[in-house]
Symmetry: D4
């Protein structure tokens, strides 16, 4: 059963969305990904958001750049958590998207992650699911452990080869 919905405002967001999707796949969590602009197909977005809960969706990741109204527009329609993923793009490098997503009015939160940080959007969604699913929580713990090992492996390599050696073999 699909518990995570990913909505993106444009297919140019797909590259960042893929980073989120890859994490979810690694965790074996099914998701659905939808292209649905808040400005171009507003009723589709509205219906998606309004019916998400009853369709079993437990958390929505919404990715958008520039004016980036998508996460807020979805959050207006539902009480399940909405994760806002600002996309870098245009002259303002994603600062516009970040401000537009995070500065929501009182009463309608959007859980915002860093600009272009698809991985963190997915991990945050998994932290939500983990509330009810101890298997996901265990996996999150493993993931954290795995990150430690990777950093340590990199450090081992640095100790072995030195800065110059590391950079050459990178």
């Amino acid at each position: 059963m699909i518990k995570i919905g990913i909505v993106m405002g444009s297919d140019s967001d797909l590259k960042i969305v893929k980073k989120a999707a890859d994490i979810l796949e690694t965790f074996g969590i099914e998701y659905e990904a939808v292209i649905a602009s808040a400005h171009r197909v507003p009723s589709k977005v509205e219906e998606y958001a309004r019916t998400a809960e009853e369709r079993g969706i437990e958390v929505i990741i919404a990715a958008a750049g520039m004016a980036a109204h998508l996460p807020g527009v979805i959050a207006a329609q539902t009480v399940i958590p909405v994760i806002g993923l600002p996309i870098e793009g245009g002259a303002l490098s994603g600062v516009d998207a970040l401000y537009s997503i995070v500065q929501m009015p009182k009463g309608i939160p959007v859980a915002t992650v860093g600009i272009g940080n698809g991985q963190n959007a997915a991990l945050l969604a998994l932290q939500f699911l983990a509330a009810k699913d101890s298997d996901v929580r265990d996996q999150l713990r493993d993931y954290k452990e795995q990150m430690k090992l990777e950093v340590n492996k990199k450090d081992d390599r640095l100790q072995k080869f030195g800065i110059e050696g590391y950079l050459k073999t990178k």
Copy 2:
């Protein structure tokens, strides 16, 4: 018949909206002003925007601060022009609202005016109306003439009293 709709996201925007309304009243143009947050009452906003044209509204002024999705959400629902009026407020002084309103995706324009510049929102709305209403255009010309006179009157006063004198009697 009401041709201009003013929508604001919160009653804290009323002070700036009043500057727009005052201009419209000076021009003798009827308007309606509505409090309707894109996030708190999304279907009210959607319906307002979707039915505006058929109700005879020819231009909508949408005022909002912070994430400021209101103008864009309205523009998504209609082909009549939407004027976005960013409101100063919160830690980011209206830069968030400005970016959120002006950086709309391709295909859905919002005619943005300066932060807190209610007067210009109204005058822009009147410039729209003037396309069909030569009386409004004449009034716009008079308004422009009037501004000239006022600047000249101030300059006359400066020439008469000097800087210090002007500042004292200000």
Copy 3:
């Protein structure tokens, strides 16, 4: 009869202006495009703006980068609506142009669109024309419908091929 004037401060703005022009051509609306810098040929700009209305121009799109005084200088000379199109360029990536165009003083509005968003400048101009021209309004409605279809087509493709498949065939 030409109803839309496009003025640009430099020929380096042409690439963005073309995006506006392409929209106007799609709509079958005649326009004139002029290179006329507010700083290098100020009297040409002044005359253009002052006489635009009597020559039948109903709306002016003014594109400029950096200090970007062009839209404001034109707006000072006319009561027809002026659409400001900030151009990205130089060290400040168009933030200078955006601020310079949108932060007009009270009394002289410029309808500002997003940085480099030539399409929205054109669509806004068409929304103005549509006040008197129901054919343009119908076309705007079609354009909006068309955008919906395109987003839906993209979404269909995403549903069919998945994220990876979509990105590969993009």
Copy 4:
């Protein structure tokens, strides 16, 4: 049983934290609030974060201003969701805190809300709890309904008294 932990870096954050606490109290959800700076009492923070899950805490709200490392430092120690609440303060008005909280590295998400938006931090925490607690979800729905009523009441008042009347009686 306490399920929400609120940690703040300084007692100067209490005023904003109170907005979060008030929401939680309205919902009848117990919480604990702790003053624990990531820089001044790092081991207290570390222990708090590391043991939160086993003590039954399901979500942590971390409020901090300026360099604002607190949310990230907590997120490094746990797999339960951490909500970052940037506090306005100092010369940079909270932009420093916002960037520092939201721009987390890949792998360690912090769910960031708007600068000084204590209400949204609490509501997001409640959306997390609602995953397992249908009573909280029902309350969230009521809260959303209530917001609608309030906006509508304000709009009714505006329709009744007009802009000037509204502002006078505000």
Copy 5:
């Protein structure tokens, strides 16, 4: 004979302009001060700038806030140096005015001073005059000497009273 013209876009700039005027008066240099908005009285500005040189004006100080087109519009009409004085005001605290004044296109320089720094606008104007007027240059040297004395006097006081003592008697 008047050699320095000060033009300001609005009488709200007078307080900052006064700081420039005070310096000029201290130096015994006559000036004229004019209120003339580039947007509200464009032909007055154009004529002022175009005829300044023949009327003997050798340097123009132009003060403006927000979109701040005045200095650039004047510089477009003359080859005498134009000093741009950005005024703090509005939501963007003068950053808009600074960018708008300093980021002029190639070929039309405006000599920009700091936001609200009327004194430096005047001193820069005097440095221009000093090219032909050795008396002004001598006065500039005296002024510089005087500043040294004042800093030294303050330092003497600090050495005498210590930090606390200094602050108490300030």
Copy 6:
């Protein structure tokens, strides 16, 4: 013997400088404080910086606002460490001073602390001194311990009185 020199560009920096001085006094470390603008008394600054080392000064704290050249100008003249303390002031709220102080060219470092953070400037200076003076290092350890106690005391009070009680008695 005086080992720490504090130089400030203006007596308006004294309030922030006092925060540094208070820390030094608490630690029982003698210092000298000098008003000496890099722009108004450049040779005094140059001489101060050039001779500091031979006079026994081991670290210099330089406080300045706006263009804030003082720390860099001092660092150009000496190889002892220079701590840059940006002062909030003017339209840009100290961002100008921060950038001007921290973005030094390669080869001439300035150890920059937060805007208006006089305490940290002093503590950093003490960390320098501690390299040779184990007594200062012990004091730094005590200071750190003391900060812990204070945070814990505040937290105890919060646990005792709750948020509302704490805020009332604050």
Copy 7:
């Protein structure tokens, strides 16, 4: 006789400085160009600035990036006008240099031009020289005339070939 000095902080500024030099050569005005960092060779800079006037230099162009203290350090030593030319470079794209150059303290002006705008630095220097040299002023008038012709020629080409044609043959 050399009347214009160009000082740059690093040889990486040469590309922008060349734009200034080219203008001066077109005008037949001799200049000297010197590499002299305010931080690496402070006494050379100090001596250059202190003796410039007596060596006949009438205006100094100072180009610098990042912390960009050079123009201010020079202005501290002389009463002849100093033109500050901010160079784009480093992570902050020249905003640091712009703020550092333009936000000078009261009493020590630097005439700032746009980021990387070498041409305007040169033209401003020539406007200074023109105070005493009517030949330079005539050339400035010709230069302005020439710019007009070039803009008009571009516009003629646009009228002839249309947007697409212009872009193809560009």
Copy 8:
């Protein structure tokens, strides 16, 4: 004996860290370089920082990008000086890292250098060591002398070949 520790949050920081390491090697000062993310291996960082002093480390350079908590997290655990080196990267170009590193709370200083300025991080570390090691101080003086010679050599070359010649042979 190793006196300088370099810690970096990610191996993507190595390129900038190498600039610091190269300086230290030129000075013949041993250092250790460690990859240890404050978020991924928090206990490793904590232990590193807590035990640094007893292992003889006298100064720590901490390099990090984006949220950049590493320098502050280390500074929380030790009283030896911590030098913060912000790394450019991500959508915000290092401004996030700069703010996050420099805006530390009162009591826990981090000596911040410019974005990506590895050289200055190393030189600042050496200035610390020089407090006890006159040989390092002598080398710092030589380094400063060497920089002067290099700038002068560049200037000599400019005088010999002119701007164009210099740029061609660069």
